[in-house]
């Protein structure tokens, strides 16, 4: 059952479940897919979250489609969404993307790695191993532009938030808070335990899809050395490479790094060729 709630005079909040899990997540994704495929001229945008989707609409444009009766735009939008989503089939989901995120763990990039290891009775290497051996689901993007809420972290490396949040967590920091892991796209205050940093930009306002990740993506963290990290940063600053990378890319949108594959294309091979060297996988 889908429950509808008003969220101001220009948005509807649809709720697909009341706890965070993959079943509800799949319903949310399936509903989002239907909105992608059935563009409504009154719809402005939608925002998917853990258990909900908000659909933002233009109330005045609804009147073009309200035929007779005294329906208010809110009621009209609820009815239309109900109809659109009546055949919701979460099982019939198309493949998701897998995005590899290089992370330089520990050291000055991950000042809290030692703490996370200590409270869990592990070595730093073990924490890195556990953190980078899982595949995570992007449940939603929120908090700050491009910030992914990732599900699926091992409880073996869970760690409480810092008692006093840092005033400035550097951009691209990878952190742990309770049972969650995430990446700060921009410098912001925050209380997460910081275990590493990625050279990838997660928020690129100049792109047609500004957020590197989107809900439903799968994410894997790949440990890299400080040297590799610095090389990646050079690439980030190299506009020629940007153009090349985006030209190289067929059908997957303006993603700068050719590290995103659809599930059905998944194969074993070099996951992370150092920049400047040709990929062994073809």
């Amino acid at each position: 059952m889908i429950a509808f709630y008003p969220l101001g005079e220009n948005a509807v909040l649809a709720e697909f479940g009341t706890s965070i899990n993959e079943t509800v997540h799949k319903k949310v994704r399936a509903a989002a897919r239907i909105l992608d495929n059935h563009k409504q001229q009154w719809m402005i945008e939608y925002i998917p979250a853990f258990t909900t989707i908000a659909v933002y609409y233009d109330p005045m444009k609804c009147y073009a489609e309200i035929k007779g009766g005294n329906l208010l735009p809110y009621q009209f939008v609820c009815q239309t969404l109900q109809t659109l989503w009546s055949g919701l089939n979460p099982e019939k989901m198309s493949q998701s993307r897998t995005v590899d995120i290089p992370v330089c763990y520990g050291g000055e990039f991950g000042p809290d790695l030692a703490y996370v290891a200590k409270i869990n009775g592990l070595t730093e290497e073990e924490v890195v191993q556990i953190h980078s051996s899982r595949e995570y689901v992007v449940y939603m993007i929120g908090f700050s532009p491009g910030f992914p809420y990732l599900g699926g972290m091992s409880e073996k490396i869970a760690a409480p938030r810092k008692k006093t949040p840092r005033l400035a967590v550097p951009a691209r920091s990878v952190g742990i808070a309770g049972m969650q892991t995430g990446i700060y796209p921009l410098e912001s205050p925050g209380g997460w335990q910081i275990i590493g940093r990625t050279p990838l930009e997660l928020f690129r306002p100049q792109k047609s899809e500004p957020s590197l990740l989107k809900a439903g993506d799968r994410v894997r963290f790949k440990p890299i050395s400080v040297e590799e990290y610095l090389k990646w940063e050079e690439i980030e600053d190299d506009d020629d490479f940007r153009t090349r990378a985006s030209n190289d890319h067929s059908g997957l949108g303006p993603v700068r790094f050719p590290k995103i594959r659809h599930h059905h294309e998944r194969s074993r091979g070099s996951l992370f060729p150092p920049p400047g060297q040709p990929s062994r996988r073809k």
Binding site: E9, I47, P205, Q206
Partner: protein
């Protein structure tokens, strides 16, 4: 509180809406909510905030600013948009685009009146929301979807005691302080989308009203939602001002919104009728 001084290097058609920040040109007060043709080389000064705190300065043709993510606005948090993603600084120069047909027609109508520093139209647009700006703002709200999770005392205080605007307010959120609002039992709210005017209650029990530069999702309980027609009042609330919440139904709030939209369209339509000879593309309004 003092606003900026703006120098116009050429004759420009402008309009100032929103707060009354004592706008003057050559010490003559500039009227609000109407087109004003400013003479070349004149300086527009904003000084004392008489009513509200944010004024909007529009120029015919619009500012020539790159569009980012389909928007011209500035996001200070992400440092993008507008002029380098920052607030304007003394010495910044802003260019604007060529005025459109309607603006050109208004310019021709005002030019014969332009004897002094500026010429203003003899009429003004409807601006009743701004007439309601006082030290205590009465703001209509619809109960939020977590309203029932709050204790009976908190639900009562929300509607019966004033909340003071604090100095930690910005374009992201208007942060209020007053009778603390508590949930009946402590519980985690799953992060979900928010909207302009969403009233969240942070863990210290104080409400925050989300505004134009808000985030997309939030994990605090939503006690209420400001009726869209009253959001401009919140945007004009100064630190120290008092806000009192008045309950309305969502249906009523949506009707108020539609009435305002129709009124705005009528203004647009009226201005076009006044200044454009040929009537094309006049919007057809369906009254509800």
């Amino acid at each position: 509180m003092f606003g900026p001084a703006v120098k116009f290097h050429k004759q420009t058609l402008i309009s100032i809406c929103g707060a009354d920040l004592s706008a003057t040109i050559d010490n003559q007060p500039v009227p609000l909510f109407r087109p004003v043709l400013v003479n070349e080389g004149k300086e527009l000064h904003f000084t004392v905030a008489r009513k509200g705190m944010r004024a909007y300065l529009a120029v015919a043709g619009g500012f020539r600013i790159p569009k980012i993510m389909n928007s011209h606005s500035t996001s200070l948090i992400t440092k993008i948009g507008g002029v380098g993603g920052r607030t304007l600084e003394a010495g910044d120069e802003l260019l604007f685009n060529r005025p459109g047909a309607l603006s050109r027609s208004i310019i021709s109508a005002l030019k014969p009146k332009l004897k002094g520093p500026f010429a203003a139209a003899g009429w003004s647009a409807w601006h009743s929301p701004y007439d309601k700006i006082t030290k205590t703002l009465y703001v209509r709200v619809v109960k939020g979807r977590h309203f029932g999770l709050f204790s009976p005392e908190s639900r009562n205080s929300f509607f019966h005691s004033p909340y003071i605007v604090t100095s930690r307010s910005d374009r992201m959120g208007c942060r209020l302080q007053g009778e603390p609002l508590r949930l009946t039992e402590r519980q985690e709210i799953i992060s979900e989308p928010v909207n302009d005017g969403t009233i969240q209650v942070s863990s210290d029990g104080n409400p925050i009203i989300l505004l134009a530069e808000r985030q997309t999702t939030g994990g605090y309980p939503k006690i209420a939602q400001v009726a869209a027609v009253d959001i401009p009042l919140i945007a004009q609330a100064k630190p120290g001002d008092r806000i009192r919440f008045v309950p309305v139904s969502h249906e009523e709030a949506q009707k108020l919104f539609i009435r305002r939209e129709v009124a705005l369209r009528e203004i647009k339509w009226g201005i076009r009728l006044k200044y454009l000879d040929k009537q094309e593309d006049v919007p057809c309004i369906r009254w509800i």
